[in-house]
């Protein structure tokens, strides 16, 4: 398994934290792409093969909910696994995101939480 990952967050610090966490988690990363909002993410997804996208919710231009809606509506992106990484605390909104096919990691997160969620979403047993 070699992963192409897209990290979408308007905070450059949070993107760096997530990427460092992914690397510390021992996940086999091939390419890691970054986007500062949903619109940038869609542009990247149109031109790069991505296995997994980690997506913040509150972002300018196009938020995470809109991005997930667009990705799920595009058959060419059906293979992209989606994980929302957010401070969202409302079970109502979290369940709505899950109903759209996204998993959820709550901020602040631990490397173990990121690793286990990524492996579960990709259907890979933890070693």
């Amino acid at each position: 398994m070699a992963l192409n990952v897209l990290v979408v967050d308007d905070s450059a610090v949070m993107r760096s934290m997530l990427i460092r966490t992914l690397r510390l988690s021992g996940l086999p990363l091939t390419n890691v792409y970054q986007a500062g909002d949903g619109a940038e993410a869609l542009t990247l997804l149109a031109s790069h093969d991505v296995d997994l996208a980690l997506v913040d919710i509150n972002m300018p231009v196009m938020n995470g909910e809109q991005l997930i809606q667009r990705v799920r509506a595009d058959a060419r992106l059906a293979g992209v696994a989606l994980i929302v990484v957010s401070t969202e605390g409302s079970e109502t909104r979290i369940e709505a995101l899950k109903a759209r096919g996204a998993s959820f990691i709550h901020k602040p997160f631990t490397p173990e939480q990121v690793r286990s969620t990524v492996l579960r979403v990709l259907g890979v047993a933890d070693a």
């Binding site: 949070m14 401070t87 079970e91």
Partner: protein
């Protein structure tokens, strides 16, 4: 100030410093919000089943340590990254305190972090605190206020 707000605010703030930034936090002795040695002040407003905001001020060098930890740096983080880290910390505190005080069924929309030159300027914009806590963090101090009003 009501314990129903201060206790969850202290818990959310402590957990954020420890989990997000690997900074140990413990309650600070009660005193006035520092006006000198301030690293930065930021607020995250929210609206939904209630409206208000979280104001966060770091002083005494906490911000540099926190941003460095978040980025895994040995050297000090850049001013832009420190500003970004401050906003993200306030965002995480806000997102984590709201379900504790309003319940997990409540839905809120959080605004983008707004930076202010002083604590007073933030309070004048966001509102008078309904809860305020102070924490000792990395040899410095964090002041966190929660403003919570009925939805308009």
């Amino acid at each position: 100030m009501p314990e129903s707000l201060t206790a969850p605010l202290a818990d959310a703030a402590s957990e954020t410093f420890e989990s997000l930034a690997y900074c140990f936090a413990e309650p600070a002795p009660p005193s006035a919000v520092p006006g000198a040695g301030v690293d930065g002040v930021v607020a995250v407003a929210f609206e939904g089943e209630a409206r208000g905001g979280v104001v966060l001020q770091l002083s005494g060098g906490v911000l540099s340590a926190m941003a460095g930890n978040m980025l895994g740096l040995e050297e000090p983080a850049s001013p832009a990254d420190q500003r970004d880290a401050l906003g993200e910390a306030a965002n995480v505190i806000c997102g984590n305190v709201l379900p504790r005080v309003a319940g997990v069924a409540a839905v809120f929309a959080l605004g983008v972090p707004q930076h202010f030159p002083t604590w007073q300027a933030a309070i004048e914009t966001i509102g008078s605190p309904d809860a305020h806590i102070a924490l000792e963090v990395e040899g410095g101090r964090a002041d966190v206020a929660l403003v919570m009003r009925p939805a308009a």
